[in-house]
Symmetry: none
Subunit: 416 residues, 2 copies
C-alpha cells in the first residue's frame, strides 16, 4: 500500500519548529506494518498545495495530510482538497452548529472565518476532533483515500489514533495478505560497511543500516506484500544474530545502557566511574535508565591531574612517568574509583579530546579506557579521528561497550 | 529564488530518527534570507529518487539533497543525480586515492563498495568532506544547481557551512539587492511568550523565536530584499539587548558554557562540581569548550548517599534530617566539591528525576541547585514537569544559568 504524508506549514519549512507530527504518523503507520513512501512539506499556499495533492493522488493510494485546517483567512487547504478530488465545497449545517456550540462552551466569539471549518468537500466524512474545534476530513474514491488532520499535535494525534488508524487496519484486514514484519538488531563497535559484508539477505527480505553515535542498528524487514514466510524471517534473524555474535547487544529499542544495567542488577554488582576526557558523560548516559541508582554508586570527574591523585589515588609517579593519558593511569583510575566508592566494578576514561594538547607521541584522539574488578584490571587503547565532541562521544560509547563486553563475558579487544 | 530540500533516508521516513538535517538547512538558509519552498523525504530507492529529482528540477532553481552518499550496496543516489542532469558517472582517480588514504590513516579496510564514493557525474564539483569520507557533490547547468551532502549530520553541517552557504551567498550578491542580515541573541531563563511581549519589531525587520532545551534564541532578521538600513538593524539589535538586559547571555553561536568559561578564565577562578541527579551532565557540558581544563578542576558524581557523605563530606545528620533532595544537602555538596578539589567555586545538583522516587512532599521533578564560593553558599529550588530526561536536561541548564548569573553579578533568583 503506497502511502504519502503531506505536511502543510510555513513554520516547519523555515526550520522554526520541528515536524513532530510527521514522526508521530510514521511511527503510528509502522505499528500497522506500514511505512510512508514519500513525505512532502509545503507552505499553506498555491500553487504548492494543488501541485502536491495532485502528485500524491497520482502516486499513492493513501494520503495523510496535516495542517492548514484552521480558520485563519490564509487557509487554502479545504478548497485544495476539494479540487484534488474534483468536488465542490459544501456547508455542513450540523457540523457548523456543533462548532458554534463548542465556541460558546469555551466562551469564545465565532469569527466569520470560522465558518470555513464547516465547509467540506461533497461526500467527505467528518473525523471528529475531541481535542479541539477543526474536524478532520476523510475523502475516498476509486483512486484512493485522503485523511486531513489539523496541525496542532494533540488534535492530530487524537484524530489519527481514534479515527484513521482503525480505518487503515480494516482496509489491511480486508485485503488479507502477509503483513509487514521487522526485527531491529542493535550493534556496536563495527562499521556499517563491515556489517554489510557479513550479512546475507533472503529473497523477499530487506535490510536497512541505521548508523548513530553509539553504533549501527540493523533493521531486518519483510515489507508488506513480500513472500517471505514468518518462519523464514525468524530464521534469517537468527542467522544474522549467529553471524554477528556479540556485535549484537540488543533488540528493538533496547539501549546499551539498559543492557548494562540489566547485567549489573542481575549479578548484584555496583559500578563506579573515573572520567577524565568524558567528564561525566559516561555516568550521565548510564543514569538515563530509570532505577540506575540500584547499580551506579557514583564517580569522579578527574579533569585535573590533582583530582586524579587526590580523589582517585593515581600515583604521582605514574603521572610523571607515563602521563595522564596512558595505560597505567587508566588502570589506576579504574582501580581508584572501585576502591573509593566501595564498588564492584570501576570504569575509567582518559584521553586527549583536542583540539589542543596533542603531541607526536600522544596525538589528539588518543584514548585509554580502563576497567577494574576484584579479579584484575584491563585497559584498551583507541585512536579516534574528528572533532572534540566526536572524540568524546566515541570514548563514551567505547567505555560502555567495554563494560558491556566484560559483563557479557566477551573478550574485551575483539571484534574491533 | 526557489529552493527545494530533498532528504533521502528510509530511517527518517519510517519515523525512527528525526530529520535534524532539514532543520539545520532551513535555518542556514534563513540566515541568508532564503527559505525552502518545498521539502520532500523519499527512501533510498527507485522510482522515488528519480521522480523526486525530476520534479524538483522542474520546480526549483536550487536543490539541496542530504543522505544516500554512503558506500553500502543500497546506495542509489549517485546514479540518480547523474540521470537527473543527463550525465554519466565517472571514476575520479584523485578523489579515490584521497578516500583510500583516509581509510588507511584510520586503519580501516577499504571495501569494494567504497569505490562508489569516488564516482561522480561528469562535470560535477567535489565538495570536500572534512568530517568524514564521502564527499559532497555540486552540479550546475543552465536550469539550476544541485548540492548533495552525506546524511551524517556532522558531515552535512560542515559541507553546508564551508562549501554551500558561500556559493549561495555569492549567487545572491551577483543579483544585487540589500543582502539579508541577522543577529542572534541567545537568552536563558525566560519563556518565548514573555520575550515576545517585551520586543518590538521595526518595519522591514523580522523576529524569530527558537526555543531549545537551554533557552530561547532570538533571531533579529532583515530578510533578503527588505528596506531596513544596516544602521537601523544595528539600532534595533541594541534596543532589544537593552530591553532584555541580563536575559541575553550571548550572541551568535556563543554557548552558555563558553560564556561561563570566559568569565572563569578572566577572573582566574577554578570550578568543581557535585552532581547527583545530573550525574556528570553539568561537567560534561562545561568541558565541551576547548581548553576547559584551565578552569574545570573536576567533580564528584554523588549518585548514592554514601558517595555524598564520603566523597563530598555531606553530614549524615543532614541526609537523615533533610534528605538528599534538600537545600541543606545542595549547599553541603557545593561546599564539599569546592573544598575537596581546592576550587574557588563549587556547583551542585540534587533532585528527583523520576519516574520513581517521588513523594507528596518531594515530587518527581523537584531539584535543588547549590553554589558555594569563598563568600558563602546559595541554593535555588526548582520544580520541573516532564519525563526523566527533561528533568535532567532542565536541571543542567539551571545549574549553568545559576553559575553564569553568579559570575556576571546578576541576582541568582531573578528574572525567573
Amino acid at each position: 500500500m503506497r502511502i504519502e504524508i503531506v505536511t502543510i506549514g510555513g513554520e516547519i519549512l523555515c526550520g522554526r519548529i520541528a515536524d513532530t507530527n510527521f514522526v508521530f504518523l510514521a511511527r503510528g503507520l509502522a505499528r500497522l506494518g506500514l511505512s510512508p513512501t514519500w513525505h512532502t512539506t509545503v507552505p499553506d499556499a498555491e500553487p504548492e498545495l494543488g501541485e502536491v495533492l495532485a502528485a500524491a493522488r497520482a502516486r499513492a493510494e493513501v494520503i495523510l495530510v496535516t495542517g492548514g485546517l484552521g480558520a485563519t483567512p490564509d487557509d487554502l487547504t479545504r478548497p485544495a482538497l476539494a479540487r484534488a478530488f474534483g468536488r465542490e465545497l459544501e456547508m455542513r449545517e450540523t457540523l457548523w452548529r456543533e462548532i458554534a456550540a463548542r465556541y460558546a462552551a469555551r466562551g469564545l466569539t465565532l469569527s466569520v472565518a470560522s465558518s470555513a471549518m464547516a465547509q467540506l468537500p461533497v461526500g467527505a466524512e467528518v473525523l471528529p476532533n475531541r481535542e479541539g474545534v477543526a474536524p478532520g476530513i476523510f475523502l475516498r474514491d476509486a483512486r484512493g483515500l485522503l485523511c486531513a488532520m489539523p496541525g496542532v499535535p494533540r488534535e492530530m494525534e487524537a484524530i489519527f489514533t481514534q479515527e484513521i488508524a482503525p480505518r487503515l487496519e480494516a482496509l489491511l484486514a480486508a485485503r488479507g495478505g502477509r503483513p509487514a514484519r521487522e526485527v531491529v538488531l542493535r550493534t556496536a563497535g563495527v562499521s556499517e560497511t563491515v556489517l554489510a559484508e557479513r550479512i546475507t539477505t533472503p529473497e523477499g527480505g530487506l535490510v536497512a543500516y541505521l548508523p548513530h553515535v553509539g553504533g549501527v542498528d540493523l533493521r531486518l524487514q519483510r515489507p508488506f506484500g513480500s513472500n517471505l514466510e514468518d518462519a523464514d524471517h525468524a530464521r534469517w534473524v537468527e542467522a544474522v544474530r549467529g553471524e554477528l555474535g556479540p556485535i549484537v547487544y540488543g533488540e528493538g529499542e533496547t539501549t546499551l545502557e539498559e543492557v548494562i544495567g540489566g547485567a549489573l542488577v542481575s549479578r548484584g554488582l555496583r559500578l563506579a566511574l573515573a572520567e577524565s576526557l568524558t567528564a561525566g558523560g559516561v555516568s550521565a548516559q548510564l543514569v538515563r535508565v530509570p532505577g540506575a541508582s540500584r547499580y551506579v554508586e557514583g564517580g569522579v570527574v578527574a579533569y585535573a591531574n590533582r583530582a586524579k591523585e587526590e580523589l582517585l589515588g593515581v600515583a604521582s609517579s605514574t603521572l610523571a612517568r607515563d602521563g595522564a593519558v596512558s595505560e597505567a593511569c587508566a588502570l589506576e583510575m579504574a582501580r581508584g574509583a572501585r576502591e573509593r566508592f566501595g564498588a564492584d566494578v570501576g570504569l575509567s576514561t582518559t584521553g586527549i579530546a583536542g583540539p589542543d594538547g596533542g603531541t607526536p607521541e600522544k596525538p589528539v584522539g588518543l584514548v585509554w579506557i580502563g576497567l577494574a574488578t576484584a579479579d584484575g584490571a584491563w585497559a584498551v587503547r583507541r585512536s579516534f579521528p574528528g572533532r572534540r565532541d566526536t572524540v568524546t562521544a566515541r570514548s563514551i560509547t567505547t567505555a560502555l561497550l567495554m563494560l558491556h563486553r566484560h559483563l557479557a563475558g566477551i573478550p574485551l579487544e575483539g571484534p574491533a
